[in-house]
């Protein structure tokens, strides 16, 4: 099992990094030929950074759009963020003080995350419009994330797992050493699904995470009369 998970995580990391890296490159190389911020929009770059920060941290547009989706979505994402920060301790040999401080927050953020996901799923199942636009994969993503969250919470609060051994396993992987992974069904499911998530990330709607930063309606400054935007392919037209 240890060997299987070791290989799986090498594979998952490779797919995640290469796949996402390619996607970022692909987004970045594609020009935005016209100035299309959704206005009113900030007129300066610092204004754009501030707008993007509000979008990414507070989900400003979603807040304007639908309070329920905002509430559940925000709970899930902020919970996930804290949980991810907490998990850093599995990859850092000497855990710094700030990370120790954050441990209890990350611990209970798991409930935020699961509650948010459950709320989103309930909406997906019972709000007619959202059910209409849902694909099978939308439901499977929620199932996958919920299972990851629930197995995580299970290991934290119910069936403890030998976290020292888990840490040794991951630190080992980072130095190409193989340390035994504790045999724990909850842990196996948890890790299997995390690896699956990493592999699917670059090919799925999870691309919304990098996507929002590349969204021209949000990341462009409103200055078209002061600055000439010209994509390389569009500049070619002037040569004719």
């Amino acid at each position: 099992m240890t060997t299987f998970f070791a290989l799986l995580f090498y594979l998952a990391c490779a797919v995640f990094v290469i796949g996402l890296g390619y996607k970022l490159y692909d987004f970045a190389r594609t020009p935005a030929p016209l100035s299309i911020p959704t206005t009113p929009a900030p007129t300066t770059t610092s204004g754009v950074v501030f707008r993007m920060a509000r979008e990414v941290v507070l989900f400003e547009s979603l807040f304007k759009g639908n309070l329920w989706i905002w509430l559940f979505g925000w709970l899930f994402h902020m919970g996930l963020f804290l949980v991810l920060v907490r998990h850093l301790r599995y990859f850092i040999a000497e855990v710094p003080a700030w990370l120790v401080f954050l441990q209890p927050f990350g611990k209970y953020a798991g409930f935020m995350m699961v509650a948010g996901l459950a709320g989103l799923w309930v909406r997906r199942l019972f709000v007619e419009r959202i059910r209409y636009i849902s694909t099978l994969s939308d439901h499977l993503w929620l199932a996958l994330l919920l299972t990851i969250g629930l197995t995580g919470l299970g290991m934290t609060f119910l069936m403890h797992v030998d976290v020292v051994a888990v840490k040794a396993f991951f630190l080992g992987l980072m130095h190409f050493e193989m340390n035994p992974l504790p045999a724990h069904p909850g842990l196996f499911i948890h890790l299997l699904l995390v690896a699956l998530l990493m592999i699917l990330f670059p090919f799925s709607k999870l691309l919304h995470a990098p996507g929002v930063f590349f969204s021209p309606t949000r990341n462009m400054a409103d200055n078209p009369r002061e600055k000439r935007h010209l994509a390389p392919w569009a500049a070619q037209l002037e040569k004719n």
């Binding site: 959704t38 694909t135 939308d138 919304h208 409103d222 935007h229």
Partner: protein
Amino acid sequence: MAAPEFEIPKFREFPTVPPIREGAMAHSKPYVASDKIQEALGFQGKLDEDWQVTHDKVIAKFGELLGKYRSLKVFMDSCVHCGSCTDKCHYFIGTNDPKNMPVARQELMRSVYRRYFTLPGKLFPKLVGARDLTKDVLDEWFSYFWQCSECRRCSVFCPYGIDTAEVTMAARHILDTVGYGQKYSNEILGKVNKIGNNLGLPGPALEDTLAGLEEDVKEDTGVAVRYPLDEQGAEVLLVTPSADFFAEPHIESLIGYGKVFHAAGISWTLSSYASEAGNFGLFNGSYEMMRKVALRIRQAALELGVKRIVVGECGHAWRVAYAFWNTLTGLGAGGHDPFSIELQKQLDPKYKQPSHICEFTWDLIQQGRLKFDKEANDHRIITFHDSCNVARASRMGDRPGGQFDIPRAIIKAVANKFVDMDEATIREATFCCGGGGGVLTDELLEMRVKGAFPRMEALKHVVDKHGVNFMATICAICKAQFTKVLPYYGFNMRLVGGVHQLVSTAIRLGGEQ
């Protein structure tokens, strides 16, 4: 008015999200452009007989656009089906057809994207909602991408800023390319390319119209206000939608522009070569087409030697002028290439180039160069309809939101009675008139009437509560659309008019005093 062949939505006491009715608007489609219209624009005349050929061309063009437009690429990948946009489209609210929910409209295209351009879609199409491109799918595109007015309201509420307008434009561009164009817009593009305006008014007709206008205004006010055409060396070139030359209530605003120039003593001219501010290239998503139409204005400006360019009351025209002219034609500041510099040398850098007529008038008001008899508008209780392209795709003045504040400030400077409609239906959240984006054609009347519903509901509220009898707007399409659909909701068609119509009523012309 003949009895309509469709049901008109009923005003609701408490607006709630309607239940969905699948296929409610599946029958709505515009007329297909003839091969003559298509070929005049350099597009394929009609669909290939062999479906496989069309199929391959669609996918090839789709791929090309994905490489040229970051918006399309990022928007195809980023949607999570969260549902925030689902109740935001006026066409959905008015028709209840779920395919008029922005996400579902995008999905018509995204499902094809997934099938041909992503790994999961190639391997497990059912799982991720991917589908093969068939003739039925293409027909569905033709129907539902012509039920979008590209108003961008959905994009305001999307957590990733996904703008359905960008998707619609891409779809229409693909349809054009494979010989499946829309008659109304492509016919208009043909006219503007050939004659210089969307209505196909040739120079002499324009001259007659303007001469007639001068007589009318003289008769009305006793002052010789001029409406000049092709005057070399004028200070300002005014580019306005051609509907302003003859349509009601549009022409009232044109009269108003002339009076503003007259009162301020600034020389100006219209151009017969560039007698159209509108640019349907935007609606059809073709950069080249949009550029071709816009270049006429560059050409006219250079030939007439003007120092300033001002754009009349037209929503999408202002979007193209404000946001795209600098890119397309070098008309603006900040370009360092010879193409831009040629025009920059001529235009006066003290002014924003181009300026909106509202910016122009508001500047003069602030400088105290215009005087008004506000009481002249006292028979009107006025509200203001924010036009979508002005509201969500452009700006006026120096500050974000100037596009909302400046027209309102003008109205308040020329009239005493003004009230706003419900906050959830104005400014950045404004509802489209239902006729924008290239759908202002009679065969789409049902959709236009139903799409106007949310705006009509908000209007009804201020009519009942405050006695509003004038809805001012700064868009030629809004004016034409409302004139047509207001009666369906029990309003007088003359309830709509322009901001400069109000200016025209109240402005003091030097000669009178």
